[in-house]
Symmetry: C2
Subunit: 347 residues, 2 copies
Amino acid sequence: MRSSLKDVAARAGVSVRTVSNVVNGSASVSEKTRARVQQALDELGYRPNLAARSLRAGRTGLIGLVIPEIHSPYFGELAGLLVEAAQRRSWTVIIDQTHGRADEERRLLKGTHAPIVDGLIISPWALDASELSEQAGPTPMVLLGERDPRRVADHVAVDNVLAADEATRHLLETGRRRIAAIGPQPELRNGTAEQRLAGYRRALHRAGLTPDPALEVPVPTLHRTAGARAMEELLDRGGPAPDAVFAFSDELALGIMRTARDRGVRVPEDLAVVGFDDIEDGRFSNPSLTTVSPDKAQIAERALQCLADRIYSPGGTVPPQRITVPHRLVVRESSRPAGNGSRSAAS
Amino acid sequence: MRSSLKDVAARAGVSVRTVSNVVNGSASVSEKTRARVQQALDELGYRPNLAARSLRAGRTGLIGLVIPEIHSPYFGELAGLLVEAAQRRSWTVIIDQTHGRADEERRLLKGTHAPIVDGLIISPWALDASELSEQAGPTPMVLLGERDPRRVADHVAVDNVLAADEATRHLLETGRRRIAAIGPQPELRNGTAEQRLAGYRRALHRAGLTPDPALEVPVPTLHRTAGARAMEELLDRGGPAPDAVFAFSDELALGIMRTARDRGVRVPEDLAVVGFDDIEDGRFSNPSLTTVSPDKAQIAERALQCLADRIYSPGGTVPPQRITVPHRLVVRESSRPAGNGSRSAAS
DNA sequence: GTGAAAGCGCTAACAT
DNA sequence: ATGTTAGCGCTTTCAC
């Protein structure tokens, strides 16, 4: 059995109050008693009971993170950064996966962990902002990658329209003209895909081109297989082939490159490819992948900052924050102008 | 403020005892009171306070998962599976990262979360079995991918020697003779790399070949960059080039293929490559990667089973379990015999 | 079938 | 500077 404050107090011949003070440094204790208590503490290997502490404090020190999938490269990386940012604030993270399903998102918001966490960070997929806010109780919440037009909660995201615009412009600048957009997700409610599509179209318009609906290929998920399949579809359709693709995620892009290879389409010579997320695989893929790189560390940091603000100022009436984090376009082999086959190592 | 049992009891005009019974179905309650209580429960949107429950029960319902990195493809996938297996048992998982550092492993075992979790699943990297058992307190613990010669705790792993043997034999069967092993980690204490090396050597011996120390290349980590660098080293050394590589992880293998490509070495024609872990990237890489595929779902399931056994039978004297989960060799493009350039989709 | 009350381990208000 | 104690919300023993 683990020893409690009472045990330590008995051993040191003092009251629990004093032991508590020593443990927390909350009041002044004479040097002599402190030493005696400390010794008892060590001898008994005292560890505070977190449940009791939480019960008293009304806080658990736990933060819920709700994402589609832990093992997705993008969310995995983000989760790792969030865990570390949380650690710096003495918080512990609980990760839940929704697999992009609306019912799971609902369940996780209301049910399973809602009562136990002090705050929630959620990357919504199937639910839109208004439903999110209905589902969530009074628990402070931060939305990731969600535009949230109604401003129901804090949210942290890159400027998806701008980023997609830049990616598309980059392809235009390397001389591409029939640029496909693979990644719209009509069934998705979180708005991200829409914004990327808007940015893509904006860039085309600016270049005097008219977006061709046949080049906008929707996908059911952002996984590699979905990208591979969408690319097959695009190639099988007949009509003039695209000379570039802007994929709404790196995973899609990797699937697209896989299909290109299977069909004898050379990347980047016949087809330039740009992705989104800057996952590690893209740095080592063949060819390496040009991509939009969001500042993930900053996403993690800012999200936790938002949560901290709300948790520590309970009655606060701070309006929902809308935070935009920086991104940059990382140009690699998959979009290099033909004939410029650089062999540099991954960057 | 969230409502408590007491609030509900007051509203329903019964005692807390009765409300508790309704919530937990723990004793028989008359149909009439049950209905009244249920109504009060709904009206107040009652949610049990987990901290209080834990304090009473002496359990938190939390399981700690200690892995090198969440965003590693292998551990990410495993973590996802563990989270789901835990969910099925009404447990919640807390994930911590060690980055493969000994001090972090120690800290996480003793310190931060040890007092709060009911059990610990750890994939040790820098600590060996005996130190692990010293560090951990009385908390039930399961080791992943660790041979644990001293049998200090339950552990779940594939048969690494056998798996490495099979991978090497596969390369021998496709006619390769100078097979390199990239992945030994002398600084690692968990034994995994050693076992894979042993299996590799055993296969060579069986084929009548003598392992060439120059073909065994140690690495500092199992990441892609480490693989890329090790391959560069191997090629720069001069001497006869290898015609195959057995990499101790898929990530290493992907890095190796990257270097091969940069150096104009064709895979699989000039160099066959086999990895370990069966991560998703390997299915979509170019060429797709032959690999040893551990049954990850079963690893997760069995690990939780071990924990459940110990947590629910506290005084139990069950000796530490040693569980071996199945694996299989998945042959893809990177090791196809030269001249058999199948273009089939990823499998 | 239901109520009263003790107690899990901790913190903090109140006392000395 | 330190002791005493109420009470956080819950489960459960004991009593009726």
